[in-house]
Symmetry: C2
Subunit: 416 residues, 2 copies
């Protein structure tokens, strides 16, 4: 039995001029992967008839499943549907269930008259099987030709996701005989890619060809991912799991998590287990640490809140940083960040607190405190640890690096 390959085609000029970042492809790839379907290639093309046509022709040579997103909207730049109609030799017909669904949306939910442009969204090529889109107005479509399955989905992320999960994934076992793909991921912190590679060299060298190791460096951390592919589920799971244990052992001092979760989720789990609470006092990170922590469902169980103190005034008035400290040492100093963290711990009454203060750039640098200088303090009721960092990147990256550095210091404090 051969592997089943897929190609993802995303359509839209906005992808080629860089105005939007394509998050759909990553989601689709993840979902297919879980089904044992390997994505061979992702192609992004513009809203141009010939380019889309060419991409479809090329994709057919590489894959048995082709997922197409985008170009199904109600406006004139959306040409995917007429193109697919022609590509699969169909003619346009009204799909009554979709028309009923659209009528319901406009009359009942939006309470606006349905205009011609919207009603046309209920038209589909008669050569397709309609994938009813309960989350939006553009129906998904499935075509089959020369033993290849083509699926066309809207580009709106939440509609595409719903259709993938409810219409596309469920039909896969009936159409393809797939193998099993197993991934296991280790999150490491505090070691660079090359040094990590040296640590795990012996494990890496003995990996069989059907198990691959990838290094995924990101903002001061490196994820290590083992991916195995095989036809017997239990065998491949066991094999990957064995190598994963060896990998973990080889770099154990740097392991932050033995699953593919971000550091803020690691923190959440540690606090949940310990039934402890956390607050933050954020100057330069501007609320980003609080945002990361609260992006996890259920975080209200351990996260109490944050004081984002961009100004001197708020540092003093809300967190109780002494005026003299700010005057004498400045906002970006060990002294200030230590008072901030103590202030947060006291005001927000939590078991742990994190405080950061720094200069994220591009402006605001000082001779003795250049852009990228950051002080971080983490505290429990017993202990305060402060550390200085120096990040040399752009504002966005400096904010992310600051937040991850602070969360890693907190992790080390919690774990003792």
């Amino acid at each position: 039995m051969d592997s089943v390959f897929a190609v993802i085609i995303t359509i839209g000029d906005e992808l080629l001029i860089g105005q939007v970042i394509d998050t759909n492809s990553a989601f689709i790839a993840q979902e297919l992967n879980k089904q044992g379907i390997l994505v061979k290639q992702r192609i992004a093309v513009g809203d141009q008839w010939d380019d889309i046509w060419h991409a479809l022709n090329e994709a057919q040579k590489l894959a048995k499943l082709i997922i197409i997103t985008g170009g199904l909207g109600p406006t004139a730049d959306d040409i995917t549907k007429p193109l697919l109609c022609k590509y699969f030799d169909g003619k346009m017909i009204v799909h009554q269930p979709t028309l009923n669904h659209l009528t319901h949306i406009f009359e009942k939910l939006l309470k606006k008259p349905m205009i011609e442009r919207n009603a046309k969204q209920a038209e589909v090529p008669d050569t397709c099987q309609v994938l009813m889109n309960e989350k939006g107005t553009a129906p998904g479509m499935l075509f089959e030709k020369n033993n290849i399955v083509f699926v066309s989905l809207p580009g709106v992320p939440h509609e595409m996701k719903w259709l993938m999960q409810n219409k596309v994934i469920p039909m896969i076992p009936g159409k393809f005989k797939t193998g099993h793909v197993v991934h296991q991921t280790l999150l490491t912190a505090g070691i660079g890619e090359s040094f990590l590679a040296e640590q795990i060299k012996e494990v890496e060298e003995k990996l069989p060809t059907h198990i691959k190791l990838a290094y995924l460096p990101n903002y001061g951390m490196v994820r290590l991912r083992l991916s195995g592919y095989g036809f017997d589920k239990e065998t491949i799971e066991k094999e990957v799991s064995d190598y994963f244990s060896q990998l973990k052992e080889a770099c154990k001092t740097y392991v932050a998590a033995d699953e593919d979760i971000p550091l803020h989720e690691v923190i959440g789990k540690l606090l949940m287990e310990r039934k402890q609470t956390l607050s933050t006092a954020e100057s330069c990170s501007g609320g980003y640490i609080a945002h990361l922590l609260t992006s996890i469902a259920g975080s209200s169980a351990y996260f109490e809140g944050s004081v984002v103190c961009y100004s001197y005034d708020i540092k003093e008035k809300v967190l109780g940083v002494k005026h003299d400290t700010l005057l004498k040492y400045g906002a970006v100093s060990e002294e200030t960040v230590t008072e901030m963290v103590s202030g947060a711990l006291k005001l927000l009454e939590t078991d742990y607190a994190v405080a950061v203060s720094g200069i994220m750039g591009p402006g605001g640098g000082l001779p003795d405190k250049p852009v990228g200088t950051v002080w971080v303090a983490v505290a429990s009721k017993e202990k305060i640890v402060a550390q200085k960092f120096y990040f040399r990147f752009d504002r966005k990256r400096n904010i992310e690096l600051t937040s991850n550095a602070a969360l890693n210091m907190l992790r080390l404090l919690i774990c003792g």
Copy 2:
């Protein structure tokens, strides 16, 4: 003179299993676009010799410039360099300036011994022109064959960006004769895509074929982008600008900005012009609004800070929300959010404040307040406006929609 087309090839298994989202392509596309080079296609392939080779062959048929990113790291899954060496019939040689640069990084900056694995990063095919990478360890490479330019860049975003801006873009005028691409983008808020299309139908219908209109819906807003392509810079700029004015006029009641900036930047500009200040009191958005506002350089001029009040306690203790209000109406209510916004205005002493409280999901819904229920209040010293929203998506999207809804209410309040 013909248009100059480019293809972007991104390499890495992580792109095909969906473990990372590709942000590099969007950046590269934007930069090329500014130079009048049109991206014809973007292709993502895995760390597989044959797939990369095939992608290079195919890209040659479509483009005069091929930008390749990824696969240049020091670890075993990085095969781009040996592959390019073979593809362009070269042999590996040491590039002395890169070796010196690496030695400097390890000895002076990292203060760690340089290992064999790192030193090998200074090796390049003798058939390439090296693009010195001052921001990292993997050098960029440029090859030319059959009148086509191939550029290979590391996949680490800040290294890739630096090389694009400092090495790739500057060589473009010497190698290609390009036309001019002009984009103008309008940010609209408070109207859906189809209704917007009706509003601007007359302008859209008379656009010439070399000027295209795209609709980019995103979290409760729609951006309208006009893109014109031509060989005379002034002519195409004037043409696009004329149609842009007509477009703006046709939907003027919904225009939030007449440039391609996000809503939080619109707010920043409004406050800067008026020399006024802002604070936020965030429950369900968990600091995301503060993060958006502070992601803009210079935001300390108008943004004072935020109280992220995830718990009842902090709403009472820090913002002064009355205990009775919380008991009687609950945290997600007009009464609570109104007291939160007043509390923020007073505590943080700003001209404006925004407060949000809601249920982002997936858990936490109540019979009369299902997941997605959000109350937003915005206030100046003279006026408080509160509004209820109901978002029906996942946690991440609900947080983004909440933040944008709050910022749009604030915009309307500021603009009167």
